[in-house]
Amino acid sequence: MMESARHCIRKTKIFMDTIVDIQVVYAANWSEADVTIQIERAFDSFRLVENTCSRFEPSSELMRLCAQIGMAVPVSPILFEPLKFAVEIAAYTDGVFDPAIGRKMELQGFDRNYVSGERMNHIVDDSASYRDILIDEVNRMVTLKRSMVLDLGAVAKGFAIDLASVHLQEFEGFIVNAGGDLYVGGSDVEGNPWRIGIQHPLHEDEWIDEVELLDMAICTSGGYERKSERDADAHHIIHVKTGVSPTEVISCSVIAPFAMLADGCSTALMLLGMEKRKEFIEEMGVKVMLLSPDLDVLTIGDDPDVV
């Protein structure tokens, strides 16, 4: 039996204020040591993206970029790519989704560096938008026209998952799970498709639904995980224009071939109204599971039975 030849290694670390859990299923031709090296490389992707894109670390490339107003700054690919992607989604949603929202997040109390405990309070006004971010694709430079705090929270984790997954492609199967946002490759230790549960928003140990995934990412955004300390009704997804958190959808899970796409879409979909939502899902070509306040699961996107 092929199945008996499969082994599994699982490692868990903390990055980006999140538990990052990597499972690898490998065949007997791999040594445990070599598998572990690849897993460490996958973890390094998270370390790299966090050190580069964190708005909680004054020395991060992102915060150094924020300190330079009105000039074209050469930017490393680790920052350039997720920023460009976030600005594209911002443009497509007409600013409903906006990576210039960092200052508003700080004001809502999402201002604490989880490692040092230090609180962030940047002296910038909070009216900048994605339109003040100019991306020069040819020279890979970024110009910020106004002072702002960039927030790549909606795409950077997904990007790190995608980068980590590259190191694990050769194995029989793997999961890179960063706090419930994950990419699934190959099959599980028995050779079956991975089955992924979707967390019940109220009961920690329950699943509200389950999906089978192959070479796909699934990312869930919801207001139930991170609440604001300052406003009981506010959570970590904030509408730029109204400054409040959406409540008509409890959580939104997006299935896509890339975690950065799934991650960005899930946040954007929490913010978009129902009428815009459908069009957005069609444009992105993703599969979406929305959870209403009365806990009904609504599946949108082509071919509900696939993936």
């Binding site: 903390i14 390094d44 790519e81 989880y114 980068l163 992105m284 993703v286 996107g301 082509d302």
Partner: protein
């Protein structure tokens, strides 16, 4: 597979390629890693080098950690097993904090007393095993 709008998926694959296909990854990979460049005070090594496992448990469950020590520095703390009756989110950030503070004493989190205590005990347990006799 669901059909994905080529534009958005292409942007994602181009983003990955920008890191790995451009040679950029090879350059950054040689740089020293952040958080691991720490200086220690005395020449007499207090701890053995290596990875040591520690368990902390109380009536609400148990946590197992792997603490890696190099030249008396705590360079990595990993949660190997988490069996508390509370969410693992309670101890999120704590392994990093141990590395930064170089000590098992981590800041408390409200409502997570048992998890934090078990986490603290597991790190102390691992350090005890690493201590030179």
């Amino acid at each position: 597979m669901a059909k994905v709008n080529v534009k958005w998926a292409l942007m994602c694959s181009a983003a990955i390629a920008a890191i790995y296909a451009s040679g950029y990854y090879a350059t950054i990979n040689q740089a020293p890693k952040d958080g691991q460049v720490l200086v220690f005070q005395n020449g007499n090594q207090q701890y053995k080098n290596g990875t040591f496992y520690g368990v902390g448990s109380n009536r609400r469950g148990s946590i197992q950690v792997a603490v890696t020590i190099q030249n008396d520095q705590i360079v990595n703390v990993e949660i190997v097993d988490f069996r508390m009756h509370y969410s693992i989110r309670d101890v999120v950030g704590k392994p990093e904090e141990v590395v930064k503070r170089q000590s098992a004493n981590v800041s408390n989190v409200s409502g997570a007393t048992y998890s934090i205590r078990a986490f603290h005990d597991s790190v102390v347990n691992a350090l005890n095993q690493a201590t030179r006799s």
